[in-house]
Amino acid sequence: MKDSFRQSMKWFHTWVGLIVGWVLFFMFLTGTLGYFYQEITRWMEPERPFIEHNISNERLLDIAQAYLINNAQGVDEWDIMLPSVRDQNLRVGWRHPAEAGKKRGKYKIKVLDANTGDEIERRATGGGRLLYRMHYRFHYLPTEISYWIVGFCSMLMLLAVITGVVIHKKIFTDFFTFRAKKGLLGWLDIHNVLSVIALPFHFMITYSGLLFFLFTYMVLSTNLQTNEDELDAMLDEIYPRTAHLEKANQAAKMLDISILYQQAKTTWQADELSYVEMFAANDVNAHVLFVRHETDITYNPEDEVMVNAVTGELILQKPKEYTVTSMIHNGFFSLHEGHFAGSIARWIYFFTGLIGSAMIASGLILWTTKRKPKQLKNPNGPDFGYRLVEQLNIGTIVGLPIAIAMYFYANRLLPVDMANRVNWEANVMFISWAMLLIYPIFRPANKAWYEQLTLAALVYFALPLVNVLTTNKHLGNSLLQQDWNLAGFDLTLLVVGGCFAFAAYKFRALQVNIRPSKQAIKKVEKQCVQAMNESLLPLQQVNKDQC
């Protein structure tokens, strides 16, 4: 341990950050993509139609209900998801009967063509959901184990955030300081700036992340301090249950949902439906719930309107009973996932998520930059530990984005009727990541950085092209149809590619500057000789300048 409090905190911050840094980077990056998981899923199912402009909610409800009457016979509960900024297709879904040996059946979503009302056959894909599920449930590991790893890493992240604030001596005087061209200082500034400007986000995301698996992590406390009944009572208090509507087992004819929707419209005084839930369909007791876009982080009862689907009367009692505890809990979830965010706020979430990833990356790079001069002086070359950190940095910070792009490539290029297609999409991603982690072992660090940055740029630039060649949902068409959902994805890929290309170019430029030309070397030698003749002190300075 080190002498002063701040020193020991610094030591702690450094090593905690190093141990879990790469896992955290993975969690942050995939989690950040999760803010757009619906958009990603839509892109990954190119069979879906383009956006339908100028179609009323009533018409969409009619189409969906017509489909459900024909195809969801005997299903008591189903949902209709209306097109939104995030997913511009009409979708319906219900829980299918359980397979043998399973407790609950799978919830399946079907995408409908808003013109014809037919179901659209889509390719098998993990979509954005699989990608973002990876950030808390690692792909190849059992659920329980990955929750524990995630919890361990998040806890260390929380500690790193807190110790980071402690060891940052001049938060306010250095608030705006970014000395870009000062090497080590520059990296320190980047790390500080990225941490400080999004500190509320970092703290919130880590803390609320830990709350997600509360009962997994606090298992000792819940096991020792409560009995079965108390635990149930506690769970009930935290997770609000939707009141289950009993069927009266008397068939009845329901009114059209589009007509019932008028009730919600008058209550809200706006046409802003997000989705519809149906309970006890085709029964005397049938109820339909209209839900609009969330207007509160915790819970606003006015966002939901319940109507009796047979008589059409408004039901004032709310379907979910929220206690104060559950509202706070729900508030943390909502903050973590950004449920309430509109499109600009969602982009801000995305950027702050990227700031978080970049903060972790810069911290990892800082670790190597700090040790670099000493390591290079080492007669036997850099230590194994140092080299390992450097290789993991290259393989993760640049390698992981490439691997994620490979996931999208797999989606477009794997045969549509392939068996186990969903698994193979993920396999392709992890195989490429593994290769990119191994690659830097065989290359000098500078070259590996440059080559992987270039590769990342190429991969991201080429993805929209592959999209053009394999589907008709490419940038040209999506812009023509003004489908910003799909166009946004392709444009973002191009921007990301541009960023990597710029990074590669900058990296190269810096390397050229550092490596002195022949003339410069001669000049330095001359200076050195002169300096040696004069005294020892200037020599050290010259050396320092050149290093």
Binding site: I197, F201, D296, I348
Partner: protein
């Protein structure tokens, strides 16, 4: 949302100008120390106003969350500009809130 970002940007620029180190980066002429003394209280006022605006636009629940988000983006923009294009910070800090406010009135 954009109005929040631009007002936070202006507030943060005032904080920044209150520091001698950054003032030299941004402004060519030295300004009187009396004026400088007004920067910080003014910045706090503007920041408070932005917070109020956020709550007014999005309510007590979502407002504060979006305020912090807007602040993050504004500071990031400011720091990048300080490093690479310091001179355009003051005009930008005036123009952005103006355009954003006009945008609100038009809608």
């Amino acid at each position: 949302m954009l109005v929040l970002i631009s007002f936070s940007f202006a507030a943060m620029m005032l904080f920044c100008l209150a520091m001698t180190k950054h003032r030299k980066q941004v402004l060519e002429d030295e300004i009187s120390s009396l004026t400088v003394r007004f920067f910080r209280p003014f910045a706090w006022l503007l920041l408070l106003f932005t917070g109020y605006l956020s709550v007014d636009m999005y309510g007590w629940s979502i407002g504060p969350a979006l305020f912090f988000g807007a602040l993050t983006i504004a500071i990031l923009l400011l720091i990048l500009l300080l490093t690479y294009r310091a001179k355009i910070v003051p005009p930008l800090a005036v123009i952005m809130p103006l355009i954003a406010s006009i945008g609100i009135f038009i809608n």
